[in-house]
Amino acid sequence: MANLKLLAEKAVQTRIAILQMIYQGKGGHIGGALSCTDILVTLYYTVMRIDPKNPGWEGRDRFVLSKGHSVEGLYAILADLGFIPRAELDSYRGFGSRLIGHPSNKVPGIEVNTGALGHGLSVGVGMALAGKMDQKDHKVYVLMGDGELAEGSVWEAAMAGSHYKLDNLIGIVDRNRLQIGGSTEDVMALEDLKAKWQAFGWEALEVDGHDFNSLVELAKLPIVPGKPHMIIANTIKGKGISFMENEVGWHHRVPNEEEYAQALQELELRMGAF
């Protein structure tokens, strides 16, 4: 049984690290990093089979952060788990740092270099195919943004996932409904998103992307053998910092000193409540 309290605590801790990295590094994508924090925490602390002491372990589950711009939370988690030194987080976005603004496989625990949108699911298809070919039982998790679903390559991967019956492939959409240019439905409408994935042959499920009770169920996937699974996780962009929530401007704004202080205070209050 997953420890929900621990997850909640790790989530606040990760949000604090995201805020600090972006404030100190003077750049990043805070809104989307905060919307997918709870998903990342659930994957890394309960769902995925990984070994921080042996990042290249062959039997590990694979994770692809297709929305590579939300990398800060991932770095924080990798540091907390011991994949990278905790002190390295301070080098985020600095010259010579491995921790650049988008994931790179130079960082232990990161499989592929992502950030150009719409490609992660295809890479995941390849990883899942490799598992099937070599009769390995690793699972592949691909976390996508909702805005990037406008890329045609996503739907090439969607076809391949169901064609090859990749039930070891689990996609997650961070459905925060905002992208840099505004509401996803205004920029390029995605709905009916669940029906789209179903039409492409995926087992599509909708969850509250901030509810650990539901998120821990990810560990039980696949529930339908022979089908890839797509989890549409409804989230709030900027989640956890009151004035950032659902505000499109916080896609990649850097908080000023005052905003930083307020945001930190909010998160630390929550931390103190545990």
Binding site: E58, R62, S104, N105, E111, V112, N113, G115, A116, H119, S122, V123, G124, V125, G126, M127, A128, L129, A130, G131, M133, D134, K136, G152, S153, E156, A157, M159, A160, H163, Y164
Partner: protein, 319 residues
């Protein structure tokens, strides 16, 4: 009399052999199995064959995923669909993370696309890939060389591209000649008046040009540069220093491919007169390969004229 042998068949034969000895070998197609004559491979290794349908972006990114799990995927389809349609996947998802993905592009050159027209004639592939860091780029001379080149790139880690042709490809070299990745080689040395750098199915034309010049008392050295990246710069500079004049002959745009690569060595290391034979920044038409290449500046006469012109410049005459 020109003899022909299929570079596509040679690729598949070689890949089939590789898969027989290394079960990590995988062929990834984008409904291109018929194009690259892969039926034999499919039959022998159905579990090592992946077809993603007409979706080259997915083919390349999916190959990246396979490679990240330790497999050795070969993505094979038309050259332009890999290097243009899936260009970003090649750059960001294969080359940048330095994944062990091999790419094989068919219909390289205007001659290889003969009757299909510009949509299926690819004369920019090498220029595009040369601009991306970290990809080994090979333009084998003919079918026999393709077979050997495929094994050579399989033996090195990291991304590689092998350019193949239409399936009706002129035999350029003796079948016994080895293939040594990364090495230039002198195919014919009449003398040091001018160096003719060439590769791929343009080689027979370069050799014919050198032969003709020799009869007229101009002694050329024909040098094959099958590995465009990494380029054997030192050997090329040495030849340039010896001849003091150069002509490049390739079935590719004169922008970005062999002509550009040699021009870069010349400009930075051994400034000598140069003329580039290739497609001169325009779209070709379609037609029989030999006729097409003659019409678009790759005739033997074009090559000899270019050699005379650089020779005149070398000797201080107006070419």
């Amino acid at each position: 009399m020109i003899k022909y042998a299929s570079t596509r068949a040679a690729f598949i034969d070689s890949l089939t052999e590789l898969a027989g000895s290394n079960p990590k070998t995988v062929l990834v197609c984008a409904d291109s199995a018929k194009v690259i004559w892969a039926d034999g491979f499919k039959e022998r290794f159905p579990e090592r064959f992946i077809d993603v349908g007409i979706a080259e972006q997915n083919a390349v990114a999916c190959a990246a995923g396979l490679a990240s799990c330790g497999l050795i995927p070969f993505v094979a389809t038309y050259a332009g669909f890999i290097t243009m349609r899936a260009c970003e996947q090649v750059r960001t998802f294969v080359a940048y993370p330095n994944l062990n993905v091999k790419m094989v592009g068919a219909n390289g050159g205007i001659g290889a696309g003969e009757r299909e027209g510009v949509t299926h004639q690819f004369f920019e592939d090498l220029g595009i890939l040369r601009a991306i860091p970290g990809i080994t780029i090979v333009v084998p001379a003919d079918a026999s060389q393709v077979g050997k080149a495929v094994k050579a790139v399989a033996n090195i880690p990291g991304p590689a591209y092998v350019r193949i042709g239409s399936g009706r490809d002129p035999v350029a070299l003796d079948a016994d000649l080895p293939f040594e990745l990364g090495k230039t080689r002198v195919l014919k040395a009449f003398g040091d008046d001018v160096a003719i750098f060439t590769n791929g199915h343009a080689i027979p034309r370069a050799l014919a040009g050198a032969e003709e010049l020799s009869k007229a008392g101009i002694k050329a050295t024909v040098v094959e540069v099958h590995t465009l990246k990494p380029l054997e710069t030192e050997a090329i500079a040495e030849i340039l220093a010896k001849t003091g004049a150069a002509v490049t002959v390739e079935d590719h745009s004169i922008i970005g491919g062999l002509g550009s690569a040699i021009a870069e060595v010349i400009a930075e290391q051994v400034p000598v007169p140069l003329a580039r034979i290739g497609l001169r920044d325009r779209f070709p038409e379609s037609g029989p390969a030999e006729q097409l290449m003659d019409a678009y500046g790759l005739s033997v006469g074009d090559i000899t004229a270019a050699c005379r012109q650089v020779l005149a410049r070398k000797e201080g005459r107006h070419g």
